[in-house]
């Protein structure tokens, strides 16, 4: 059954595969719904998600999701590190649409 120690596979459209803990993946509302055991779509069975984004974008998305998990229990004022510093402006726009799609 699903628990946070599970891992899922995220695939980019250019063939990168990322093994991500379910906990991190579920930071995205869209991925969470997709992996929902009760709704039982095909992805929740296979635990493989094909996403129509480049690997570099997906990597940044996963990085952000991990960042979110890492600071989940912090007060906002205690977080010194700003994720915006880590974003390369060249992928910003693409990353933005991905974020919108993935509901992160």
């Amino acid at each position: 059954m699903a628990n946070d120690d599970d891992y899922v596979l995220l695939e980019s459209n250019d063939g990168f595969k990322f093994v991500v803990s379910r906990k991190v993946a579920c930071g995205s509302g869209m991925l969470k719904s997709m992996l929902d055991d009760e709704a039982a779509f095909s992805e929740s069975r296979s635990k493989v998600c094909h996403l129509d984004y480049r690997g570099i974008i997906l990597l940044k998305v996963i990085e952000y999701l991990s960042y979110k998990v890492q600071y989940a229990d912090f007060n906002s004022e205690d977080i010194i590190e700003d994720f915006a510093d880590r974003i390369d402006p060249y992928i910003a726009l693409e990353l933005l649409t991905a974020a919108d799609f993935l509901d992160t």
Binding site: S33, A39, L96
Partner: protein, 809 residues
């Protein structure tokens, strides 16, 4: 923005624009694919579908401004699916019996079971469809999440999941094509009714269907309430009302209040249970008040007055648990009506019982008051309502006393009983206690002789020799009497009687103990204050001083020889009841007079300016009398001694006539008769009366009974008891009390006026009534008369407007 542009111009790697899927061409296709997917989801085939793919479809549709098409399309698909479900799953399970149920009669066993099962099947079908629907709606919600996030808020339409609920309401619960609504409500009601009738139903199914109704809410426009509260609850309440109204009438018909209340209690807890288990807790208070309204409110007095099982019989048989139930249930009745009804009924019952006590007492009394009347044997002695003289047993002299004691005992018992019930069944409810007290006050004061009776009862307990009682018993009895005393209005009458009885106890040395006496006085002091007991305490003081001075007098008599030993109680006239101290004196024989003189000499030597009046009727004397057989020590009253001494010098064969005795003793008629009666007609007949008979007549002749014999060396000849007042005496007492009241009212008026100087009539009267209420309730006209009396004597004067008075110093 300018930063970005700048960066791009500097020729750095170019920012890739987000790729644009080919829009217009694919929209139609996209929707067809998505619609298919939705149908698959509704048919539980979600696992074949890629979430990502369809999420993207919906995403794209919304992104390219086709949200409205998507939204409407999805709605259409849901409606379609729901219609299909209704058709296939629900309609075939319509129960035959529902739709006609409602308040119908109780269905017999097999039919009821069948109907329960049918209903259950139907409800299960509804529930299955609901679960099916909500399941697919949840998935749709996930897939269409982007639409909910972006399109619906912008378009101002409800989220898709809520649309699903609304559609369920439209197509299933309130379906216009199938009569699901009627069936659903009717079946729910019939299931509940079956359970009320004692059948077993599947509560969980009902619970689930109710939950559906609770989840479904009407749009804001239609009031925004849940379907449960608009469609189901009113029906349910109406149905329950009908059911319980009928049940109340049916059970009340059976005429058993206790059973009825048990049923009500059961129903209340059942319905509470029901609302907790499978109805909404919102309904609870309404249902509860509905039950109370139909089961209790209209039947309060019927229940209370139910013959053979109502309040009267519950109290009669001490059915504490029934009474407790009655009380707790009645408290539920709104506006305190239950408590008020109970109060009235309790009061009526207590008064009734009190009246019975009064009647019983009047009955046994009237028996003793008219011993000459012919006794009728044919009246049932249990029939308390029989006319006077119903008692068929021979009436003895102590009967009136017994009646008095019985009256008090009965009242005390009754009080105990109500106190216990109040405590055990009514939770010490203050207002009920007040009603009970009112009832006691009313019946105790309804008996004109209650002050006398109360005092007699205390007398009986404080007197030596009747029965041996422990101190605790006496204490308890006195405490209870004190509680009755509180109810008494004519406390001044009680005071009068108490003084007389106390005087007798003190003078005849009959008090069981000084402590008990003082205890009682202390109790009265607590109740009535210092003034009330001042004179009583004076009596104790007199007795103590007399005892102290007796010793001194003994020394005095060693010098001044008198032929007998003498001990004298000196009483302060104002402390002692006038009936006792004003008993007129008599001519003591020469022998006794010598003692008298000696004491007077002694007393005058110690106190100057005091006048002594000798009271022959109060003392006792020990005298040794020689009869033919042997000598006996007689203990007689002083008056009897005076009479006996007359016979000392009369030869045995001669006799004295009544008139002769009277003239040589100067005893008042009544006293003389009583004395002679005790000597000649009592148990020990030291005198012989001719003609014989129980009553003493003024023509009778008496002689010394020399042949008197007895086994006892020491004989106590009691004055013929005269404890309970005769009617004549009572009249006298009444007069005296009335006289005394006059003075008290006047004193009170003067006290008030001295303080206020000017006062209106009404204020004055009410103030007087208030100040005197602790002793008695002064009648208005008496107060008026006293005011007039005072005006005549120029203590007061009327001011100009006639309605106010002025105090003249």
């Amino acid at each position: 923005m300018s930063m970005n542009l700048g960066a791009a111009k500097r020729g750095k790697p170019k920012i890739r624009p987000p790729k644009k899927p080919d829009p217009q061409t694919s929209i139609k296709e996209t929707w067809i694919k998505l619609a298919n997917a939705i149908r698959e989801i509704q048919n539980h085939n979600a696992s074949k579908l890629s979430f990502e793919e369809h999420y993207r479809y919906a995403y794209n549709m919304v992104l390219f401004k086709n949200g409205d098409q998507l939204y409407a399309g999805v709605k259409g698909l849901i409606s379609e699916h729901l219609e299909k479900l209704a058709e296939e799953k629900i309609v075939p399970t319509f129960p035959r019996s529902s739709g006609t149920s409602g308040t119908g009669k109780r269905r017999s066993g097999a039919e009821a079971v069948e109907s329960a099962m049918e209903g259950d099947r139907f409800l299960k079908a509804v529930k299955t469809v609901w679960e099916d629907h909500t399941g697919s709606m949840r998935k749709l919600k996930d897939v269409l999440k982007y639409m909910d996030k972006v399109y619906t808020p912008a378009a101002g339409v409800p989220q898709i999941y809520d649309v699903g609920l609304t559609l369920f309401l439209q197509h299933i619960v309130r379906s216009s094509r199938h009569s699901i609504h009627t069936h659903l409500i009717a079946t729910l009601l019939s299931q509940i009714q079956l359970e009320r009738d004692g059948e077993i139903i599947t509560r969980s199914t009902v619970r689930d269907c109710i939950d559906i109704l609770l989840r479904l809410t009407l749009s804001e426009r239609e009031g925004g309430k849940s379907v449960y509260s608009t469609d189901f609850e009113p029906e349910f309440l109406r149905n329950s009302a009908d059911y319980y109204r009928a049940e109340a009438l049916e059970i009340i018909e059976r005429g058993d209040a206790s059973r009825y209340l048990q049923n009500v209690e059961r129903r209340l807890s059942e319905e509470t249970d029901r609302t907790a288990h499978y109805l909404s807790s919102l309904t609870h208070s309404q249902l509860h008040s509905l039950l109370v309204e139909h089961l209790l409110t209209p039947h309060l007095s019927t229940i209370l007055s139910m013959p053979g099982s109502g309040l009267v019989s519950m109290i009669e048989h001490d059915r504490v648990s029934d009474l407790r139930r009655l009380y707790t249930l009645f408290l539920h009745v709104p506006k305190d009506a239950g408590r008020i009804a109970l109060r009235l009924a309790l009061r009526a019952d207590a008064e009734d019982r009190g009246r019975t006590i009064n009647e019983n007492s009047a009955l046994s009394e009237s028996g003793s008051a008219g011993p000459a009347e012919e006794q009728t044997m044919d009246v049932d002695p249990d029939d308390v309502k029989g006319k006077g003289k119903a008692k068929s047993q021979v009436v003895s002299g102590g009967n009136a006393l017994l009646a008095a004691l019985k009256w008090v005992q009965d009242s005390v018992d009754l009080k105990d009983r109500f106190d216990r019930l109040l405590d055990e069944a009514f939770g010490g409810d203050k207002s009920l206690q007040m009603s009970i007290n009112e009832a006691f006050q009313s019946f105790i004061n309804a008996n004109p002789r209650s002050p006398e009776y109360l005092s007699l009862y205390i007398d009986e307990h404080l007197k030596k020799g009747t029965k041996t009682k422990s101190e605790d018993e006496i204490e308890a009895a006195l405490d209870k009497t004190t509680t009755l005393f509180r109810f008494l209005q004519d406390k001044d009458k009680f005071e009068r009687y108490y003084k007389i009885h106390l005087a007798r106890r003190l003078l005849y040395g009959r008090s069981v103990s000084d402590d008990a006496e003082k205890g009682m006085v202390a109790k009265l002091k607590v109740e009535m204050g210092f003034q009330f007991t001042q004179k009583l305490e004076g009596m104790f003081t007199d007795m103590r001083l007399s005892t102290d001075s007796a010793h001194l007098f003994q020394q005095f008599t060693q010098r001044h020889q008198i032929p007998f030993s003498l001990s004298v109680n000196v009483l302060t006239a104002s402390y002692w009841p006038p009936t006792i101290v004003s008993a007129s004196t008599c001519t003591f024989g020469p022998l006794l007079s010598s003692g008298q003189d000696t004491f007077e000499k002694y007393y005058a030597g110690r106190h100057s300016g005091r006048r002594l009046v000798w009271q022959g009727g109060l003392g006792t004397a020990d005298v040794r009398v020689r009869f033919k057989a042997r000598s006996h020590d007689l203990n007689v009253s002083t008056q009897a001694l005076v009479v006996l001494l007359l016979f000392e010098n009369v030869p045995t064969d001669e006799s004295l006539a009544y008139t002769e005795i009277q003239s040589s003793t100067n005893l008042p008629d009544a006293d003389l008769r009583r004395t002679l009666q005790s000597l000649a007609c009592g148990k020990f007949r030291v005198l012989t009366k001719t003609p014989k008979g129980r009553e003493v007549d003024s023509t009778d002749v008496f002689s010394f009974n020399e042949g008197f014999t007895s086994n006892l060396a020491r004989i106590k000849i009691m004055q013929v008891a005269n404890k309970v007042e005769s009617n004549k005496e009572r009249e006298e007492t009444q007069e005296q009390v009335a006289e005394e009241r006059k003075h008290q009212i006047e004193a009170c008026i003067v006290r008030i006026m001295k303080n206020r100087k000017i006062m209106s009539h009404n204020d004055l009267v009410s103030e007087v009534a208030h100040q005197l209420s602790s002793r008695f309730n002064p009648p208005l006209n008496l107060v008026k008369k006293r005011i007039e009396g005072l005006i005549d004597r120029e203590y007061l004067e009327r001011t100009g407007d006639m309605a106010t008075y002025k105090y003249l110093a």
